[in-house]
């Protein structure tokens, strides 16, 4: 299994400064062919800066970075011709139609029209935009624009697709449709690199991920590994009335492995949340609400940084 396949992207001590600000602080990672690799972290963690360096549009400050084995500083054009990029903000041509956005983008890659036409049919079907082919971009919904941006990134049949917060700002239905399409892409063998600040997105899409915080990588692994290494199997969430809250919290001590007190709720890390809940009741505590759930990457982030991931 552990064939020494050349990584698609390899970074060593990769660093990016903007003036005095250190956006990315000496990170190491490898992305293997065909995997979905995630950068997870809050806003300002350095995810987008890392993506832009991988995309060969942002020069690195120091360290080593190769993409397809090439150096972005020397072979940026070659790298970019093999990439698909879905940026954080849709940068579609608002004045053109859906179809035209795909045509002009294909032309930037110097694809002949005879190649572009059938690909557009296929991509519009894939992103469920067929009936919008001749609509202008401007009035489309956020989810449709996102799907069009993804279709555009695929017009050149890239080996690697970079998705920077692909579902930020979308409603749940639009997110699920997008996840399903990205999952299909992965099944076709396309390597995906995804940044997100949504834990559920990382769990859904990523084979492996790194958690970034303040420019550094604080943990690395598969979603399951990260959960196993950094938190318990389950979590019990409790809410208490504000009066007597502190007293209730004091009396929780000793339940589960760890207590995390947040502004609005208390999280009990535990191997068995049902048992912990029974214990809460046995101590005659009366939370106004309780939730038994599996641990998520959100809990991992909390355990690693002491902070929650908030938009």
């Amino acid at each position: 299994m552990e064939q020494m396949q050349q990584p698609v992207v390899s970074a060593r001590a990769l660093t990016k400064h903007f003036g005095d600000f250190v956006a990315v602080d000496s990170v190491d990672f490898d992305v293997r062919p065909g995997e979905a690799f995630g950068f997870l972290g809050p806003n300002g963690a350095g995810k987008s800066s890392t993506m832009r360096m991988i995309g060969a549009v942002s020069p690195i400050t120091s360290g080593d970075l190769t993409v397809f084995g090439l150096d972005p500083a020397a072979d940026g054009r070659e790298i970019r011709s093999r990439l698909g990029v879905v940026p954080q903000d849709d940068n579609l041509d608002q004045e053109l139609t859906v179809e035209e956005n795909l045509i002009i983008y294909g032309r930037y890659f110097d694809l002949p029209r005879s190649v572009i036409r059938p690909r557009i049919d296929e991509l519009l079907a894939f992103t469920q935009l067929e009936d919008r082919r001749h609509s202008r971009v401007e009035p489309l919904s956020g989810g449709m624009k996102r799907r069009l941006t993804i279709a555009r990134s695929l017009i050149s049949q890239p080996d690697l697709v970079l998705l920077d917060e692909p579902t930020t700002g979308l409603d749940p239905q639009a997110r699920h449709l997008l996840w399903e399409r990205l999952y299909q892409l992965k099944e076709r063998g396309v390597t995906l690199i995804i940044t997100t600040h949504y834990m559920d997105e990382a769990e859904q899409l990523c084979d492996r991920l790194v958690i970034m915080d303040r420019g550094k990588i604080v943990a690395e692994g598969s979603p399951a590994q990260l959960i196993a290494n950094h938190t318990t199997r389950e979590v019990l969430e409790l809410r208490f009335r504000s009066e007597g809250r502190q007293e209730s919290i004091d009396r929780l001590q000793g339940i589960g492995k760890k207590l995390e007190v947040l502004a609005d709720r208390v999280l009990v890390s535990t191997e068995d949340a049902e048992a912990s809940l029974a214990e809460v009741w046995a101590r005659e505590l009366h939370p106004v609400a309780n939730l038994v759930r599996r641990s998520t990457l959100e809990d991992v982030f909390l355990a690693l940084t002491g902070r929650t991931l908030v938009d």
Binding site: G55, P59, R80, N91, D93, R107, Y108, D110, R136
Partner: protein
């Protein structure tokens, strides 16, 4: 057989134009003719004939031709460049693919040059009819107008990239384009300007363009050697291009 990159970039300008041409129809094609009618024929009826019995409207028309080339270059290199850079960020999308900043600027220059040819050709036809220009002279003057416009594309694109805000674009027209239009020899020879202003006029690409255009259309000798005027416009055009690429790089690749 691959198509040159600049042409493929210019194609997107054409596609955009097919959706938006109505918005620029009046300013591109009607306003210049209105100027010719009001200034050339209306006001011109009060102006004495020039050397060789040249009536004012005939003298004015080649100047206006160079002017509309500048106006088109400025119009296409201000707000549309701002849209690509800031409002719609389509330049970011282009740079994420295999294009470089120089490809984008060269594609822009190609597209705007096409627009200049289109706008000046229509005006030239009208000027042959209303201002009694010699058709061959009018065609030659259109070439001079293209060179004039091209001298402005890079400069205005660089200006837009440098300042990158709407107020600066309004100021560009208020403080640069309109004064150039009024005082670069389009309406009267710059010899009528106060002495200290004449060297200023020599610096403006528009004046060089007006000199060339008038020489080719109606045979009035240029102030300096025609090749000097051509050379000046070419140098300004290339400098503007280089400057625009540098500023695109600064603004978009960071």
């Amino acid at each position: 057989m691959s198509t040159p990159t600049a042409i493929r970039v210019a194609e997107s300008g054409w596609r955009r134009y097919k959706h938006t041409w109505r918005a620029s129809l009046f300013s591109s094609f009607v306003n210049p003719v209105m100027l010719l009618l009001a200034m050339g024929i209306g006001l011109g009826s009060l102006v004495d004939d020039g050397p060789g019995g040249l009536v004012y409207v005939t003298w004015l028309a080649p100047g206006l031709l160079a002017n509309i080339a500048m106006q088109t270059a400025a119009g296409e290199s201000s707000y549309p460049v701002m849209a690509g850079m800031k409002w719609n960020k389509t330049y970011d999308a282009m740079l994420a693919g295999p294009l470089a900043t120089s490809d984008i600027v060269l594609g822009h220059v190609s597209w705007v040059s096409f627009r200049i040819v289109q706008v000046t050709a229509v005006f030239a036809v009208v000027a042959v009819w209303l201002a009694d220009l010699d058709p061959l002279g009018a065609v030659a003057a259109t070439g001079a107008a293209l060179l004039t416009g091209m001298a402005f594309i890079g400069l205005v694109t660089a200006y837009t990239a440098k300042f990158n805000n709407e107020t600066s674009l309004a100021n560009l027209f208020r403080y640069i384009v309109v004064p150039l239009f009024l005082f670069s020899g389009v309406f009267f020879p710059i010899s009528q300007l106060p002495g200290f202003m004449q060297p200023l006029a020599w610096l403006t690409p528009l004046w060089h363009g007006v000199e060339l255009s008038r020489w080719l259309a109606v045979g009035i000798d240029t102030a300096f050697s025609p090749m000097l005027h051509v050379g000046y416009l070419l140098v300004v055009g290339v400098l503007g291009f280089v400057l625009a690429v540098r500023l695109f790089e600064e603004r978009l690749v960071k």
